[in-house]
């Protein structure tokens, strides 16, 4: 009875982090509106090792919906881009970790893969919905940006997961959960 509540509140905590980071990213002045740093993906990356898939995906939905509510863009294409990019990236990251394991891949690789997937899907959606074939012209710089941001976010996540007491504590709590 005690553990499921803890898991739910961890989920909510990570969800809150997503919202917080979304807000920060929203407020950072960017030269071009489609430049995304992906700060709000950090909690999602951290969650990969903490939750079973169903809860993980729930967090992804919270991130997408929460971000959309904050920026007020639930209906528009913008939401569609965010949805497509985040889902593709989250699924990809989760799969990579589960298939290759913690020894084979760290958050660095996961971060890069996630960022590239997210950007690729968004370019695809832009191609289909607003830019047409000309979307290809913006693809290379966006991919480069994804590579760089993914690398940096991945490095940060890796450091954080190694040094954070909260993170270690949460992993232990959830592992006790699993072993029941």
């Amino acid at each position: 009875m005690d553990q499921p509540i803890k898991r739910q509140s961890t989920l909510a905590l990570l969800g809150a982090l997503c919202l917080f980071l979304s807000t920060i990213e929203y407020l950072i002045p960017k030269p071009l509106p489609f430049i995304r740093i992906g700060l709000a993906n950090i909690p999602i990356m951290l969650a990969i090792d903490l939750f079973p898939f169903a809860s993980f995906f729930l967090l992804v939905i919270i991130k997408i919906v929460g971000q959309a509510i904050i920026t007020g863009s639930l209906f528009s294409y913008v939401f569609l881009f965010s949805f497509g990019g985040t889902v593709a990236s989250a699924l990809g990251m989760y799969l990579l970790r589960k298939l290759i394991g913690k020894e084979g891949i760290s958050f660095v690789g996961i971060g890069i893969a996630g960022a590239l997937l997210s950007n690729a899907v968004q370019i695809l959606l832009a191609w289909l919905l607003i830019f047409g074939p000309s979307a290809q012209f913006i693809a290379p710089p966006l991919l480069l940006l994804g590579l760089i941001t993914g690398l940096l976010l991945g490095i940060f996540c890796q450091h954080f997961s190694e040094q954070s007491r909260w993170y270690k504590q949460t992993i232990e709590e959830h592992q006790n959960d699993e072993s029941r």
């Binding site: 084979g104 891949i105 660095v108 690789g109 590239l116 012209f137 290379p140 991919l143 590579l147």
Partner: protein, 143 residues
């Protein structure tokens, strides 16, 4: 003083980066390498000049039209004698109908290669295929 401080900073930075790379796990390096390859090749693929699609330029009486050769369009081009019908279909373009007397333009048939052209001289309609970018004036014509 500052020179030594700077060197120390560079040394610690280099050490940090080195430590970083040794902490990479195998799949990280694979993904990093793959991503760099994909990113760089995307630059080549998208921005190389030989990646341009062929275009059809149709000119008649002060108006000009541009379409990709892959388009599916039927155009009425106005000329002094009337309307010339130009059809772009299945990667090729031809004159379907024209109000000229000898219908030479129709007889010229279909074109689909860069540099080719057909024209209805009586009706002042010119149809040619170019590669990007659009230049004024005729490219080398082949007939």
């Amino acid at each position: 003083m500052t020179a030594i401080a700077a060197m120390m900073k560079v040394a610690t930075a280099a050490a940090a980066i080195k430590q970083l790379f040794t902490r990479f796990r195998p799949a990280d390096l694979v993904i990093l390498a793959l991503s760099i390859i994909i990113t760089i090749s995307s630059f080549f693929i998208v921005y190389a000049k030989n990646n341009s699609e062929l275009q059809v330029v149709i000119e008649g009486m002060g108006q000009s039209y541009i379409y990709p050769l892959s388009a599916d369009e039927t155009l009425r081009v106005r000329g002094p004698l009337g309307d010339t019908l130009v059809v772009i279909h299945h990667g090729a373009v031809h004159v379907e109908d024209s109000p000229c007397k000898n219908k030479l333009c129709i007889a010229m048939g279909e074109i689909s290669q860069q540099g080719q052209w057909v024209a209805c001289l009586p009706n002042q309609v010119f149809v040619r295929i170019i590669g990007k970018p659009v230049k004024d004036g005729l490219d080398g014509s082949t007939y």
